[in-house]
Amino acid sequence: MATVASTPTTEALPKRPNAVWQFIRSEPLGIFGFLIILLYVVCALGAPWIAHYHPEAIDFAAMLSAPGEAHWFGTDQYGRDVFSRIVYGSRTALAVGILSAFIGCTLGAVLGAASGYFGGRIDTAIQRVVDIMLSFPIIVLAMVVVSVLGKQSVLGIDTNLIAAIALPIIPKMARVARSSTLSIVAMPFIDAARAAGFSHKRIILRHILPNIVAPYLIMVTAFVAQAILLEASLSFLGLGVTEPTPAWGLMLSGASADFYQTAPWMILFPGIAITLAVFAFNLFGDSLRDWLDPKLKS
């Protein structure tokens, strides 16, 4: 009797490419942006070890010193080390930028998902509020909030400033989340979930929100850049962080304008820090979008 020997296959299943490796290969610019962000994160976390001086320490003997060995980025009119202030300033920028983008996008995503899922009057009501909020320029809306709420510091971070920056992000994220939700709601698995008697809460939290994570992540990275810029703008206008706290926008404002001719480093380096941070987050956000969006992939 002929027997057929069962030979186990030696051919391995095709290996699924590692997601991180795939991102690195397909989005080198995104990786470049990510490395810059990483550099800022390292600066923020390791500021006491990286900075040579206390960021608020006045040294009149060194006032308006040009960049050199003792002060890599020079000093300001109080003799404060510009490099140290930029390193510590990354804490303010990242804390305010990331927290406000995260809060704004999360609230916007929940609102947008609810709007798209429920439709009808709820959708109309939410979208009209969103329309009103979008009709204000982002900086104006933030200025109004800061002016009305004033300052409220928790652990050294101005929570009202974060609220002011997060607020204009909410309607933008809500629009994106709503459109994503509308396409998801039309899918059969949502009908199945409804037929199974799942609650609205469960459907939104378990089925809709996980499916809009990709646009959410993209928006968060994009809005971090915007939030950093907005924080810098508000600080520049005297509505954000208060002296002597190191903050990039603040370093560009006030007396810096009086000294830009004699001490250009006072505005040059904070300007570069802001530009580079915004550039890095935008680069990373764009790459993330390209990588996560199947339409763009094809």
Binding site: A57, M63, S147, T242, E243, P244
Partner: protein
């Protein structure tokens, strides 16, 4: 090398005298329009209810005063409407002879009745009228026995009567018009000054023209003046661009540098002390600021002498002084001042002592909020500097800068730990200068909330002593006591820097930006 504030004062005064001498050597010319800028706008036109230079600079040329400060020889008081005066031997009666033939701009005659009505409005304002300095003149009773005589009788002895009467805010209004409407000065200009009112375009300009009926037929020299209301940042470009020739409040050292760099040959500079300082107000109703050792320690951490030179290069903060302006006749001499907490020249020892005092007071790791206005110059540098100095004795401070209205509300309510507050008035008189150092019972601006009536008693005592030497003794005792108790402590006094076109003559810088702005002596060398 650091120079003492006194020597700097001498240099500044010398520079001023040289300027005065040079101007005096020339023969004044008639004609021309003086264009200058003012960096704020008056909320209304009523002198009696105002405290701002934004009112004085546009409005002073329209009004006469009873007497005024001499710009050339401040604090000398010189005649304006009063051509002469006598003081009774007991110094309880001041009799003024009013000039004859003085007219208001509408042609109506000005008599002693107008002076009386104006002072009555200041002392006993009718309902709806705001009189800011009502309490200051509360001891005066005014009468007008004949059209050319005004008599001020004192209910109690009062020092500095002539200086008080020379206030640039004591505009003389028409008695007849006040009778019709006591609030007319809020919206209407009708004075007897050297310039009549032409127009006010809100947010833009203010114009005045020579009043041909002015009592001094030789004055003014100018045909008129035009004010441009601009933001502070627009002053330097405005002067350099030729839009206007001056700004009379004061510029900071950077702006002076920018102006001189670009137009040195066309400009003249005046520099000197300013009757303004920034001080720290400790809220004594909150712990640990109710403890004198804590207040003293916080004052002792601040290196005033060391900071003075450097801060004066980047801001208008400059002179080290106590409650009275450094260099003023009644201020504490430097030798006395350095013995007081916070004024030692040995900052290292001072800080070591401060740390020990904080530890002894149980406030070793002290943390608090410093409330400040969100005005860049000079409030922000004062806040930044103080916080840095406190960090050096281990005290961590959060800087809270608010818009002026919010700041004032908080300070008035006593909702602060430590605040940066200004001290300023139109003159050096201690009765004006000590107002913020008193208890709230005596002064609404006694923001520190202390209840120490010894300062009040000394204050009342000094204002009743007419003899200058005797009064100086009491004032110095009061100053020593106030700085030792440290309810409020000055950080630094301001420097006044004026950069104006060289063609402007007859304008002299006084330590107050409220004074010598009637423009009667100003002329243009063109």
């Amino acid at each position: 090398m650091m120079r003492s504030s006194l020597s700097r004062l001498v240099v500044c005064t010398a520079a001023l005298i040289v300027g005065v001498g040079a101007a005096a050597a020339q023969t004044p010319k008639k004609g021309g329009i003086l264009n200058f800028s003012v960096v704020a706008e008056p909320p209304n036109y009523d002198c009696h209810g105002s405290t701002t230079f934004a009112l004085v600079h546009p409005i002073a040329p329209h009004y006469s005063l009873l007497v005024k400060f001499d710009g050339k020889e401040y604090p000398k008081v010189i005649p304006d409407l009063a051509e002469s005066w006598t003081v009774a031997p007991d110094k309880m009666t001041y009799t003024f002879k009013i000039r004859s033939g003085v007219k208001f701009h509408d042609g109506s005659p000005l008599t002693s009745e107008d002076v009386k009505a104006s002072y009555d409005r200041i002392i006993n304002p009718p309902e709806g009228v705001v009189s800011i300095r009502k309490a200051y003149y509360a001891d005066l009773i005014v009468s007008a026995p004949d059209p050319n005589t005004v008599v001020f009788k004192l209910k109690n002895p009062m020092a500095g009567v002539m200086e008080a009467l020379a206030s640039p805010f004591n505009c003389i209004y028409s008695a007849a018009k006040l009778k019709q409407n006591p609030r007319y000065p809020e919206t209407e200009i009708l004075g007897s000054g050297a310039f009549s009112f032409v127009g006010h375009v809100k947010g833009s300009t203010w114009e005045g023209k020579r009043f041909d009926g002015y009592y001094n037929t030789e004055r003014p020299y100018l045909d008129g003046y035009k004010i441009f209301f601009v933001k502070s940042a627009a002053v330097v470009p405005g002067i350099l661009g030729g839009q206007f020739d001056a700004e009379f409040r004061g510029r900071n050292p950077q702006e002076k540098g920018q102006l001189l760099d670009k137009a040195k040959d066309n400009l003249q500079v005046f520099e000197g002390t300013w009757v303004n300082n920034l001080m720290l107000v400790f809220n004594t109703t909150r712990k640990p600021f109710d403890d004198v050792k804590v207040r003293q320690a916080l004052s002792m951490a601040i290196d005033r002498w060391g900071g003075s030179d450097a801060l004066s290069k980047i801001s208008i903060l400059k002179f080290v002084g106590g409650v009275m302006r450094p260099g003023y006749s009644m201020s504490l001499p430097e030798a006395e001042l350095v013995k007081l907490p916070g004024y030692s020249k040995d900052i290292n020892k001072s800080r070591e002592d401060a740390k020990k005092m904080l530890e002894a007071a149980g406030a070793k790791d002290l943390k608090f909020k410093l409330l400040n206005r969100n005005i860049a110059e000079p409030y922000t540098p004062a806040g930044i500097y103080s916080i840095d100095q406190w960090r050096r004795i281990g005290v961590m401070v959060e800087h809270e800068q608010l818009e002026t209205k919010l700041y004032q509300d908080r300070v008035a309510k006593g909702d602060f730990d430590v605040a940066v507050e200004f001290q300023a008035d139109f003159m050096d008189d201690p009765t004006a200068q000590f107002a913020k150092f008193l208890t709230k019972q005596l002064s609404p601006s006694g923001y520190s909330g202390h209840t120490d009536t010894k300062i009040d008693d000394l204050y009342q005592k000094q204002r009743r002593i007419a003899d200058p030497d005797e009064r100086t003794k009491i004032v110095r005792e009061m100053e020593q006591y106030a700085l030792t108790q440290a309810y409020n402590v000055p950080i630094l006094w301001w420097q006044r820097i004026i950069v104006i076109n060289k063609k402007i003559k007859g304008w002299y810088m006084t330590p107050s930006h409220y004074l010598w702005q009637d423009l009667t002596e100003v002329w243009l060398d063109q």
